[in-house]
């Protein structure tokens, strides 16, 4: 049987479209969940840092340790290790939902660090000015610090987006669905390079679009 370069790809357009849909699903859910989880953890890391608004050695130490240990774990290994937790929460360790859960957790720790760094970058003078006005600590944290750090925070979040797309493709190795899975099953395993390049183009398009939107949003937030 002779197969033309793009025969496999053209013969499976609906599979391709479904793979794009799965990737978008994984990425968007993971973005929202990791964004929320990371925001809470990152704000907590900033606020409990010694000398800061809600200084608390214990919380800061535990959170910091957790982030430091989990964040550098290569995602493929993290994906396997998180299996028992997946079974508990999602009820399965395979498929798109299970993979989305794992990505959201892994990305959440990365977001936490990025949120913390964005907030640490906020001018302490502004915090002092708010204290001098008689603002409460919570008002300073959310009304001043988070708001002032929103620009770099959105940029950092955009940076995380690329990482999440990357993780969603790696999840293809364990049958998580999406463009990575598609490229392996329909592409490389069948020596159909058309499929592989189609997946590549789609991934690049998603990343470029996401970054464009993120940068636009950051600019709007920073008004510069």
């Amino acid at each position: 049987m002779t197969v033309g370069f793009f025969d496999g790809f053209l013969g499976s357009t609906d599979v391709f479209v479904r793979a794009i849909g799965q990737t978008l699903f994984i990425v968007s859910i993971a973005m929202v969940v990791s964004g929320l989880v990371g925001l809470v953890m990152g704000v907590a890391l900033y606020a409990t840092r010694p000398g800061n608004l809600f200084a608390n050695r214990l919380v800061f130490g535990v959170l910091g340790l957790l982030v430091n240990v989990i964040r550098p774990i290569p995602f493929v290994i993290f994906l396997l290790a998180v299996g028992p937790l997946q079974s508990l929460v999602v009820g399965t360790t395979i498929g798109t939902e299970a993979v989305t859960f794992a990505i959201a957790i892994a990305a959440g720790f990365a977001v936490a660090r990025i949120v913390e760094q964005s907030l640490v970058g906020v001018d302490p003078g502004v915090v002092e000015a708010a204290r001098a006005m008689g603002a409460s600590r919570a008002a300073i944290l959310f009304g001043v610090v988070v708001r002032e750090g929103l620009g770099p925070l959105v940029l950092g979040y955009t940076f995380i987006f690329v990482g999440i797309v990357d993780m969603s493709a790696q999840a293809g190795l364990v049958g998580g669905g999406g463009l990575g899975d598609y490229a392996i099953q329909y592409g490389s395993q069948r020596y159909d390079w058309g499929v592989v390049y189609a997946a590549l183009v789609a991934i690049v398009a998603i990343v470029v679009l996401g970054q464009f939107l993120g940068n636009r949003l950051a600019r709007a937030v920073m008004r510069r």
Binding site: D123, G125, V126, E128, A129, A130, R131, A132, M133, G134, A135, S136, R137, A139, G143, V144, R147, E148, L150, V221, R223, R224
Partner: protein, 344 residues
């Protein structure tokens, strides 16, 4: 302490622990009061402890020992809620302005009102009123980064006054500004004091700012207040070396060592400097003393101007004649209370 004091610092010391090293004493046993309605300047070089001192007033820093009272209330013993209420009554402006970059000019001025729980309509009204006062009503919707340094500080002043505090703390408010803008901000601070009746504590290292707006000045060195007095008195009769250095930095009627060396080349006689105050018939007294002692006097350096709208200055004479005559002249002047110094 006087009954009309708005701020009373009593035996206040603040030490900072720097890592594992020895503690640094930023403020060392300072007793000082700020009278209601006055502008009190605190002058010192960087590291003199003046920025720490001002932060003790609104309890941004707590003293290691001593008490800090504002309007009779000991701010070192307040709970968080009471302290927040007390801080609403103390405005503060900063060297780096510290404006919220994520809010507009109007948003910055309105923020303390929001914090104080003031309703939207009243907030808008008060914000417009304040921006009008500082001359920035037309920039209400601009963002801080679109403003010049002087404009930013004017927004800072409007923001600090939002809750109508009786006290304004100005921490090096003009130090990041060029001379012209400094003038503009100082003029505004003076208006805040005279037109709104706000008591001002002005932290600075520029004697010119003291001369322009302050009623009294405290000179700080090594964490201590080494001299305190009316601006006129400190300018015309500085007691400590630190005060003398600051006075010289803002006045140019005393010859510098270089100028003195040049004067000596052409004037071999004794060089003496008479301090000019607003005492009546000063020049006649001086002239008579020189004449009666039989010494010739040639004016070689000096200047007379105004400090706080009173005559002030310094005149340097070359005195010729024998030593006894010069001694008689100086003795006669000192007997009449004229401050006269021989240049070394």
């Amino acid at each position: 302490m006087t009954g009309d004091a708005l701020v009373e610092l009593e035996g206040v010391t603040k030490r900072f622990q720097r890592g594992s090293g020895a503690a640094v004493t930023a403020v060392d046993d300072v007793t000082l009061s700020v009278r209601r309605g006055e502008v009190l300047a605190v002058i010192g070089y960087s590291g003199a402890g003046k920025s720490t001192l001002v932060r003790l007033v609104n309890a941004l820093e707590l003293p290691t020992s001593g008490t800090v009272r504002v309007a009779g209330q000991d701010v070192t013993r307040l709970g968080e809620k009471e302290l927040r209420a007390a801080r609403a009554g103390i405005g503060m402006i900063f060297q780096q302005f510290n404006l919220l970059s994520s809010r507009t000019v109007a948003g910055n001025v309105a923020y303390p009102l929001k914090v104080a729980g003031v309703g939207r309509a009243e907030r808008d009204r008060r914000t417009a009123e304040l921006l009008d006062f500082v001359g920035l009503l037309d920039r209400a919707h601009a963002h801080p980064e679109q403003l010049s340094g002087g404009q930013k500080q004017r927004v800072g002043i409007a923001r600090a006054l939002a809750t109508s505090p009786p006290l304004l703390l100005a921490d090096e408010a003009t130090s990041a500004l060029d001379p012209e803008t400094t003038e503009e901000v100082l003029t505004l601070l003076k208006r805040v004091n005279t037109e709104l009746g706000v008591t001002v504590m002005l932290i600075t290292h520029e004697m010119e700012a003291v001369r322009r707006v302050a009623d009294r000045v405290a000179v700080m060195e090594g964490g201590r207040v080494v001299e305190l007095g009316d601006v006129y008195d400190v300018f015309t009769a500085p007691q400590t070396a630190a005060a003398q250095r600051f006075v010289r930095s803002a006045t140019h009627d005393r010859p510098s060592p270089e100028a003195l060396a040049r004067l000596r080349e052409h004037h071999p006689g004794r060089l003496v400097t008479v301090r000019v105050t607003d005492r009546p018939r000063l020049q006649q007294t001086v002239d008579a003393a020189f004449r009666d002692a039989g010494t010739g006097a040639e004016l070689v350096f000096g200047g007379v101007g105004e400090i706080r709208e009173r005559r002030a200055g310094s005149l340097t004479y070359e005195l010729t004649g024998d030593d006894a005559a010069v001694r008689r002249a100086l003795g006669a002047l000192r007997d009449q209370g004229v401050v006269v110094e021989e240049e070394e």
